[in-house]
């Protein structure tokens, strides 16, 4: 440091900042003061509107350095932090920066010492300004107003924590270059008309428009995109603190969404629980247990009709499992699968193909008879995809016990129960499909389909049905070897 003769010992200096965020002004004055060797505790920095009376004894005329060529050093990191910290609302920011600049002269790498308390404080202020700017980008909400000539003007009201409005104008200009907009804040306003940026003094909330019809749509979106099954209020508050809520149209919904969420989730879980009650937690491990359980099953509306569950039938180690759609009228009355007209067709075809029904496990995709009452008759109704999926639980339990090598699905419903998707019989018949457990699935028509046909079509379908059964017989013989 050079001679101090020009600095009056014991003199205090006061610098009045012309703007609260004027980095260039601060830099000039700070350089001058360091060159004159004025220690930080001898300088007071007063921002506009700040309380200067405490420093009334300070000298407003700054000392003039003897050697203006003397180089004042500051690291890159300090400069980039200082530019941001100037926008902070802390009245001590300029003094703090000056103190740091002073210390940097003897230790140029001081900014690297993150454990130093002044460095930490500046870093925190820098972070706080950047965060405020980021939140301004995020939470400014424009409201559209039309002027007399029908031009759209977008106006927003925002309350930043720091002096960042001028700093962030560029972001909004680049983003909304072809719109006319204004951002009003208590720390000053900015206006863009598509060509030039204009600044004006502080505004009040009442200067901004009070609503926009698009906000209803936005609120609807906000409420719909929220998943009530995963309430994480802490995570929301961390990123969107309450102080911002008052100027965000969607935030008014939050209390209601939070209150409704637990109700909505419990409704979903309850609706699910009617499907997966406690007895579903563990699959029954014997056929007898399944038989008992399906009689009490009310997981889908079919179970609530006046009918009885029909359990599969056959040896528990059968190599072939035949799966039909659901019990019919006669099956429901006798409690046995495939005993009605379709069962007779099946028996005849099995005999023709040389497959012993006694060695085969015969069951249905859906365990209860679904029907509509027409007078005295109960008319068969196909189960819905949903009902088949619900019942999948039971025949999967049967399959897990019987462990057949080959499964023959009769009809589209049975195929869906095995595959989880609806397939076209004509496309998948005649070829084995691999199932999860390593067994193979063959698909053919349901025998009741043959009962509904006549003439050539019937003959053709009977031939295909017999061919499918013969193919299954051959495959079983192969697998038995």
């Amino acid at each position: 440091m050079t001679a101090l003769s020009h600095v009056k010992l014991g003199t205090y200096y006061v610098v009045h900042m012309p703007e609260p965020d004027d980095f260039a002004f601060w830099r000039e004055r700070a350089r001058q003061l360091v060159q004159c060797d004025v220690p930080p505790d001898r300088v007071a920095w007063v921002e506009p509107g700040g309380n200067g009376s405490l420093f009334s004894h300070g000298d407003k005329r700054l000392p003039v350095p003897e050697d203006d060529k003397q180089i004042i050093r500051a690291s890159k990191r300090f400069l980039s932090i200082a530019k941001n910290v100037c926008h902070h609302s802390d009245p001590e920011r300029f003094s703090l920066l000056y103190a740091m600049l002073w210390r940097l002269q003897s230790n140029p790498r001081l900014m690297e010492d993150k454990a130093d308390s002044q460095v930490r404080r500046l870093e925190d202020m820098d972070k706080s300004v950047r965060r405020d700017a980021h939140k301004m980008h995020a939470f400014v909400r424009f409201r559209m107003v039309e002027d007399d000539e029908g031009n759209e003007h977008y106006v927003a009201w925002f309350e930043p924590d720091h002096h960042i409005v001028r700093r962030e104008a560029g972001f909004f200009v680049r983003r909304f270059a072809n719109m006319h907009w204004s951002i009003l804040t208590p720390r000053g306003c900015i206006h863009w008309d598509g060509e030039t940026l204009r600044e004006s003094g502080p505004a009040q909330k009442s200067d901004a428009p009070q609503g926009d019809p698009a906000e209803d749509l936005w609120r609807k979106y906000y409420a719909s995109i929220f998943n009530p099954a995963r309430l994480k209020i802490g995570a929301m508050l961390k990123e969107m603190p309450r102080k911002y809520w008052k100027n965000m149209p969607e935030a008014a919904l939050i209390p209601e969404l939070v209150a409704g969420a637990q109700k909505r989730e419990s409704e979903m879980v309850d609706a699910g629980a009617s499907l997966f009650g406690s007895e579903f937690e563990d699959r029954p491990e014997t056929l007898a247990a399944i038989d008992k359980a399906i009689h009490g099953c009310r997981k889908c509306p079919i179970g609530n009709l006046d009918n009885q569950a029909v359990m599969g039938e056959g040896p528990d180690n059968a190599a072939l499992m035949i799966v039909g759609e659901q019990p019919g009228d006669q099956e429901d009355q006798t409690g046995k699968p495939f005993v009605g007209p379709a069962g007779q067709v099946l028996d005849a075809a099995l005999a023709q193909a040389g497959i012993e029904r006694r060695e085969t496990y015969v069951t249905n995709a859906v365990k209860h008879f679904k029907y509509v009452q027409r007078g005295k008759r109960r008319l068969h109704q196909s189960p819905t995809a949903k009902e088949i999926d619900v019942c999948r639980w039971w025949h999967e339990a049967e399959r897990a016990i019987v462990k057949p090598k080959v499964v023959l699905a009769l009809g589209a419903s049975a195929a869906r129960a095995m595959l989880g998707k609806t397939v076209s019989i004509s496309k998948v018949r005649g070829e084995p499909l691999a199932l999860d457990d390593g067994s193979e699935l063959w698909v053919t028509a349901h025998p009741s389909y043959l009962l509904r046909l006549d003439g050539d079509a019937k003959a053709e379908q009977e031939r295909l049905f017999a061919a499918d059964l013969a193919a299954v017989k051959d495959r079983l013989a192969q697998l038995a070897q």
Partner: protein, 414 residues
């Protein structure tokens, strides 16, 4: 059928889209609307314009074009056999809605996905058309993320990449068997084939941009994917392995994990219990360990417990440190960056600060305390000028000392 107005359609189609976790708007090329006719800019950093009470960021208008679907994936609320209200937007309606929201600074752009209607190609054409209207007719320069349908024609996927900042194809489930069982209409080879095609197109475009200034950009924000966690039997080890293969093979920007959550009108094939949300969180932490902390996938797998899952009560880094105690304590005044990154409780930022500060002073425990959130958590694993953990590192009950004391009870555990 009643005619739905925009408000009702928005409600249905936003609700249908909310199970997709991704809403990122970061990492794309810088653009702004200066000199253009429309609105929009992207400046590298993503912006979250709002946060929902589920803690998720709302950055993009995330909707489906339609929730009609010819597929029947059991975990999906929009599957064919589900009994939800259906609705459908036209591409033009979506474009108008995007601009209405964008001009008011509600969003960064659009994330458009769709149920499959008629055919995969038809659906993909509609998605591409929406992006075309925004980009070409309105000169929209904000962010567009398009969900790509793996079954669609590669030419359509290519067009999507030319309009969008990011494209994504969901792998849906971590294992092939899970996919066969729960998403019978999908096929993992097709999905991975499409992701491979995207990777090649992105790489080729980058190469062209190096040679020719005006070569078109192709998905400058890269591609991402999503996996559903807890809908099949896959363990965390399986998931971590799958994720690292995806990052490696397809150069993905992100793999998102979405804990399977109860959906209305659930299919009966789904699991009985929903996975704890914490599991998803632990997977994201393990993802971070692989991407930013130099952990190999095998090392993350080493942190799992006997059942192949990461512990829920402590984070994976702490779990790993407890298993490999011979690697600790680490001397913060001497250790390399790699070793410091292994210390539970030290993040990448804290490690950077330690490395910078220790050139100026010999760090004491107090100094470390200033740089980290919780010195108590770090203490057993480090040495400083005035601190040695001595026996602490080897104590058998260290886990219980460090695990969070209270466990949040599951609200609907049963």
């Amino acid at each position: 059928m009643t005619v739905l107005d925009t408000m009702q359609k928005l409600e249905i189609l936003a609700d249908a889209a909310k199970y997709d976790a991704s809403c990122a708007s970061s990492g794309t090329a810088k653009r702004n609307s200066t000199g253009g006719k429309g609105v929009g800019s992207t400046e590298g950093m993503g912006i979250c314009h709002a946060y929902a009470p589920d803690g998720r960021c709302i950055s993009l208008l995330k909707i489906l074009l339609t929730n009609h679907c010819i597929f029947d994936c059991h975990y999906c609320i929009n599957r064919k056999s589900s009994n939800v209200r259906r609705a459908r937007f036209t591409p033009r309606e979506v474009a108008d809605l995007t601009l209405t929201f964008y001009r008011r600074n509600y969003i960064e752009g659009l994330f458009l996905s769709s149920g499959i209607i008629k055919s995969s190609n038809h659906t993909m054409e509609l998605l591409v058309e929406t992006a075309r209207i925004l980009r070409e007719e309105h000169d929209f320069r904000g962010y567009i993320h398009l969900k790509t349908i793996p079954e669609a024609d590669p030419e359509l996927a290519h067009q999507a990449g030319l309009y969008a900042d990011r494209v994504s194809i969901n792998v849906e489930l971590p294992t092939d068997s899970g996919l066969t069982r729960l998403a019978p209409d999908k096929n993992s080879r097709q999905i991975e084939g499409a992701m491979g095609g995207m990777k090649m197109a992105i790489r080729q475009s980058k190469d062209e941009r190096k040679r020719f200034k005006h070569a078109p950009r192709f998905a400058p924000g890269g591609q991402s994917t999503q996996m559903i966690v807890g809908a099949d039997a896959a363990t965390d080890s399986d998931i971590v392995g799958k994720a690292s293969r995806l990052y490696g093979n397809f150069k993905l920007r992100r793999v998102y994990y979405s804990a399977f959550s109860p959906i209305p009108d659930a299919s009966a094939v789904l699991p009985l219990k929903r996975p704890p949300l914490m599991r998803e969180h632990r997977l994201y932490q393990s993802d971070w360990l692989m991407r930013f902390y130099g952990f190999a996938p095998q090392e993350v797998m080493q942190a799992t417990e006997a059942d192949g899952n990461l512990p829920l009560d402590i984070d994976p880094k702490l779990a790993w440190a407890l298993k490999f105690r011979d690697r600790f304590p680490v001397d913060v005044n001497r250790a390399s960056r790699e070793d410091l990154l292994r210390v539970p409780g030290l993040g990448t930022r804290a490690v950077g600060q330690i490395l910078a500060s220790r050139r100026h002073r010999t760090l004491r425990l107090d100094d470390v305390g200033k740089l980290t959130v919780s010195v108590a958590k770090v203490r057993p694993f480090i040495c400083t000028a005035d601190w040695r953990p001595t026996l602490l590192t080897d104590r058998a009950d260290l886990r219980s000392l460090l695990a969070p004391k209270q466990e949040q009870l599951e609200l609907f555990a049963a």
